[in-house]
């Protein structure tokens, strides 16, 4: 086994580390701590955050890549070990080969036979056109009519395993968090449900395709799971690329005013007057050309896809900073007229120090709110871009690609609804939790919403 570290893997771990550090430092400020406490004091916030963490967890597991060692070829007995060209991740191992059970083409959820007719030879040797049985799903069944009974029979131990996992997860937390006033119970409930669902899905999908298969016969559930990493990464990475640009330019424009302000305003006005999709499409195609011209730089297909993906995140980040920049510029204009900045001037505090100590900390609420709000917008943007064909590389699982693949199949009769549903379900859950969480964060951090009850 040989570990493979893709650029995006390194970035996602770096990112998680940075976020943890950031929140750890924020804890020291009692005001900020109070506001986070307000977010987590609601059951909804706790549940939404748990779901988001679960997604991040899946993304992290999917980011531990390696290449399997292959058994030495026959007749060769050198010490050299050959590695599989296929890069796998820890998630692939945990899902017990869910992604390796290919069928010939479409099949419905829990189906035993293919969705499309094929020319077959029956026992008597006659050529007939019929739905062929699936290679993997239901192979263990002697009698196809026992399918549902079999599912139920297999569900019981799976759910038991799920419960055991849930207890293992929750017990230490319960032990550590005794006496906490926050509604941890809702988090534990969500954790329990997620653990049971996960174990059940993995064990059932050994014998059935829970969400069916797609055109190429790949398991839709597996594809959706692979989409998690893409979605989380694109949301987080693009926002993180956009943040420094927006914050630096916005704060400088609002603080220094004059020609700096003019230049920054010119920049974002120009940028936002170019149609975003067009700009992104052009940039992605340009990068595609670069990849094609330099094949040596990217040995495996996955690395090629990964480079393209990072480029996409980068482009999304670079094109979407103008809104936040505007907000921060306006806030800085306001803050720099306030007494404490004036007083700092009177004390001869340097510009850099004023920006760092007085202005930046007071724009943090805007940054936080934008971070959580933009996250879900970018997950959706990825789907749109992949849909029009300029998004993530088709070899990389993503919800946008799944939707793109499923669009024409919706119009046939009987319709193939499961590929779309799989992507939709996973995306919906992530975006919904992110939005609910963003709402709570905004309520806690936005000075205007906090003014309401106080003014009364």
């Amino acid at each position: 086994m040989k570990p493979v570290i893709l650029w995006s893997d390194a970035l996602i771990f770096l990112l998680v580390a940075a976020l943890v550090l950031f929140f750890w430092r924020l804890r020291r400020d009692p005001q900020t701590r109070d506001r986070w406490r307000q977010v987590f004091a609601s059951r909804l916030g706790m549940a939404a955050f748990t779901v988001i963490l679960a997604y991040v967890g899946v993304a992290l597991l999917d980011s531990l890549h390696f290449r399997r060692a292959l058994p030495p070829p026959d007749g060769v007995s050198t010490g050299e070990v050959f590695y599989d060209n296929q890069v796998s991740s820890v998630l692939d191992t945990l899902t017990a080969g869910m992604g390796e059970r290919f069928e010939r083409t479409y099949s419905a959820p829990f189906a035993l036979r293919s969705f499309e007719k094929q020319t077959l030879k029956d026992e008597a040797g006659n050529t007939v056109r019929d739905f062929p049985p699936l290679r993997h799903a239901g192979a263990q069944l002697a009698d196809p009519t026992e399918k549902w009974a079999d599912v139920v029979r297999r569900s019981a131990p799976a759910l038991g395993g799920g419960l055991a996992l849930a207890v293992l997860l929750i017990l230490p937390q319960w032990w550590l968090l005794r006496g906490s006033s926050l509604p941890w119970a809702s988090s534990w409930l969500v954790q329990g449900i997620l653990a049971c669902t996960a174990v059940w899905l993995v064990s059932i999908s050994r014998h059935y395709h829970v969400l069916g298969t797609d055109l190429g016969g790949a398991d839709v559930l597996y594809q959706s799971l692979k989409g998690v990493r893409t979605g989380v990464l694109i949301g987080a990475l693009s926002t993180l690329i956009m943040l420094p640009i927006a914050v630096t330019l916005g704060v400088c424009a609002g603080y220094f005013k004059g020609w700096v302000d003019d230049a920054v305003q010119y920049l974002y006005t120009t940028l936002s007057s170019i149609p975003g999709i067009l700009l992104i499409a052009a940039a992605v195609l340009l990068f595609q050309v670069y990849i094609d011209l330099n094949p040596d730089a990217f040995p495996t297909g996955l690395e090629k896809a990964d480079a393209k993906f990072i480029a996409l995140c980068f482009i999304l980040g670079v094109t979407s900073w103008s809104t936040l920049c505007r907000l921060i510029r306006a806030e800085t204009l306001k803050i720099s007229q306030l007494g404490y900045v004036q007083a700092a001037h009177a004390f001869g505090v340097s510009h850099g120090r004023i920006l760092l100590r007085h202005i930046l900390p007071n724009t943090v609420h805007i940054i936080l709110i934008t971070f959580v709000l933009d996250f879900s917008a970018l997950v959706l943007a990825e789907a749109v871009l992949s849909y029009i064909g300029v998004g993530v590389d088709p070899s990389m699982g993503s919800w946008g690609n799944m939707i793109n693949g499923a669009r024409s199949e919706l119009s046939r009769e009987p319709a193939i609804w499961w590929t779309l549903s799989g992507a939709f379900l996973f995306m919906f859950l992530l975006v919904l939790s992110a939005n609910l969480f963003a709402d709570l964060v905004r309520d806690a951090f936005d000075p205007r919403t906090r003014l309401g009850p106080e003014a009364a």
């Binding site: 306030l338 007494g339 340097s350």
Partner: protein, 534 residues
């Protein structure tokens, strides 16, 4: 009391904060009579605005009326359904607010806003409606009403906007007028005119007026009866004459005493000047056109000369927009002087480079008007006070700095544990003390006080002024005291300068300016100051 004669009677009113069931207004009784102005006085948070809102049944969602009755004739307003109440609001009871700029809709003409209430409650339309609005505007003293009617709010001055608000309130000839701090946002000369207008209307229209204010001077000047509100209760009620002659409660006494005495002046002191400003001009370019060329200049400060000696207080008085704050900022080096010279202790300090300026930043400090916005909400008080010392290199060892912060807090009479607290945990008066400590931290020789007390309640205002005077005696600090409030000047300043439109129209000793002003503008300013102790 005889309720028959009352236009509106509030009885046993209590208002409760829904979330915590805490009573913000407790068992309040108010009798409003036709043709009489009843002033409700109290400091911020005493519940006076909530009382008036409860009377109109306009309480915000977080509050509700716990008990009590509001009788208008025989009808109890609190028992009416909301739909009936709507016909009473505007028609029989009307309200004017503190800030006319935010209470008027900026995108509608004055006519449409005044006519709105008339359309709702009367059958007047067309020319008759226009005539009615014209006569209303005439009554509230808007010059040339036929033409001004089609103006938008921003085309009118603050005083005229408040007059429009009053015209709107009077449109349907209400019996009760509630005025919530109607003049707080206005300059003194305009405040006087508006108060006189309310007084005149109360008499001529037999209006029952509930005047809410924190300013004892306003009460003295315009009200007939007064009620003092403290922590949700009315602790004293009397006629204005009786109240000022002999207040019963100690708290009322304090409120009256908080008004500075007008008869003792500080004698001018003789010393060589520490600061001298000669022919200072600060002009702001007005840019416009294609390439944002300078088309005109705003003359914020236009040729001002003054001197200030060590240990002296110079009060710079003027209405908003007169350029007094800009002058202060120019001395601090926060504003670039267009021409003229500023000398400090013999050295010219305007136009100094950043480095050379640092030495003078330590010697000239500032205290701002709004204590809430002059503290970074994310820094602890200790760090706020220490910032100047750190930046100007006054005290480099952390240990010594902390000790100094502690001693400064003690000097401004704040508990030592304040250093670890954050600005939002302190009250306005406490924060202003922190601002004083922050300025004192670098041992300045001149402090520019830019309206340091105008955001504070009256009783706290006196404390802060006393503290400043005491520190001046101890440290021999010179103070440039910028204020719009002439009433605090006598016991405070050695000399006074009156500013108008960027020019210093008159300077002299306090006694000379307040006792025998020569310039007509100074005379007008003085006449407008509401006085409590005549």
């Amino acid at each position: 009391m005889n309720t028959e004669a009352d236009t509106l009677t509030l009885e046993g009113l209590s208002v409760i904060l829904t979330e915590t069931a805490e009573a913000l207004v407790k068992d309040v009784a108010i009798h409003l009579r036709a043709g009489e102005i009843f002033a409700l006085v109290g400091e911020s948070g005493s519940g006076k605005s909530i009382t008036s809102l409860a009377g109109m049944r306009l309480l915000p969602e977080a509050l509700h009326i716990g008990s009590g009755r509001a009788l208008m004739g025989a009808t109890d307003l609190f028992a009416l359904p909301e739909a009936r109440m709507q016909t009473i609001r505007g028609r029989r009871m009307a309200m004017i607010f503190q800030n006319p700029m935010s209470a008027l809709n900026p995108v509608k003409t004055v006519f449409r806003q005044v006519a709105e209430t008339l359309r709702l409650h009367t059958k007047l339309r067309g020319a008759a409606l226009r005539d009615r609005v014209t006569s209303l505007l005439e009554e509230v003293g808007i010059p040339d009403p036929r033409q001004r009617m089609d103006f938008y709010p921003h085309q009118l001055s603050g005083g005229q906007q408040q007059r429009i608000m009053i015209a709107m309130a009077l449109a349907c000839e209400p019996e009760v007028l509630i005025a919530d701090e109607p003049t707080t946002a206005l300059d003194v000369t305009i405040q006087k005119q508006v108060l006189e207008l309310i007084q005149k209307l109360a008499r001529s229209r037999r209006l029952a007026v509930l005047l809410i204010t924190h300013d004892m001077g306003v009460v003295r000047q315009s009200a007939d009866r007064v009620g003092v509100m403290y922590r949700g209760r009315i602790i004293e009620e009397a006629s204005v004459a009786a109240f000022f002659a002999a207040p019963k409660e100690a708290y009322s006494r304090r409120l009256i005493d908080a008004l500075p005495r007008q008869d003792t002046y500080r004698a001018p002191i003789q010393a060589p000047p520490l600061l001298s400003v000669t022919e200072l001009r600060v002009h702001f370019p007005v840019r416009g056109g294609l390439l944002r060329r300078v088309q005109d200049v705003t003359r914020a400060v236009n040729g001002v000369s003054l001197t200030l000696a060590r240990g002296e207080t110079f009060a710079l008085v003027g209405e908003s927009g007169s350029g007094k704050s800009t002058l202060g900022r120019a001395i601090l080096g926060l504003e670039h002087a267009s021409s003229g010279e500023i000398h400090f202790d013999g050295t010219r300090i305007d136009g100094l480079a950043h480095k050379a300026r640092q030495a003078y930043r330590r010697r000239i400090q500032v205290i701002f008007q709004n204590p809430y916005s002059s503290m970074n909400p994310r820094m602890a008080i200790g760090a706020i006070i220490a910032e100047g010392m750190l930046s100007l290199g006054v005290e480099t060892s952390e240990h010594r700095r902390e000790a100094r912060v502690a001693s400064l807090l003690e000097r401004v009479r704040l508990p030592a544990d304040c250093a670890r607290r954050y600005p939002h945990e302190l009250s306005g008066g406490q924060l202003q003390r922190v601002a004083i400590a922050r300025a004192l931290a670098v041992e300045p020789e001149l402090i520019i006080c830019d309206e340091p007390t105008s955001a504070l309640d009256v009783s706290i205002r006196a404390d802060v002024l006393d503290l400043l005077a005491e520190l001046q005696r101890e440290d021999d600090v010179a103070m440039l005291f910028i204020t719009h409030d002439l009433s605090i000047v006598p016991g405070l300043a050695h000399r006074v300068g009156v500013m108008r439109n960027g020019e210093l129209v008159e300077t002299g000793s306090t006694e000379q300016i307040l006792g025998a002003p020569e310039h007509p503008y100074t005379q007008a300013l003085l006449a407008a100051v509401p006085r409590a102790g005549d």
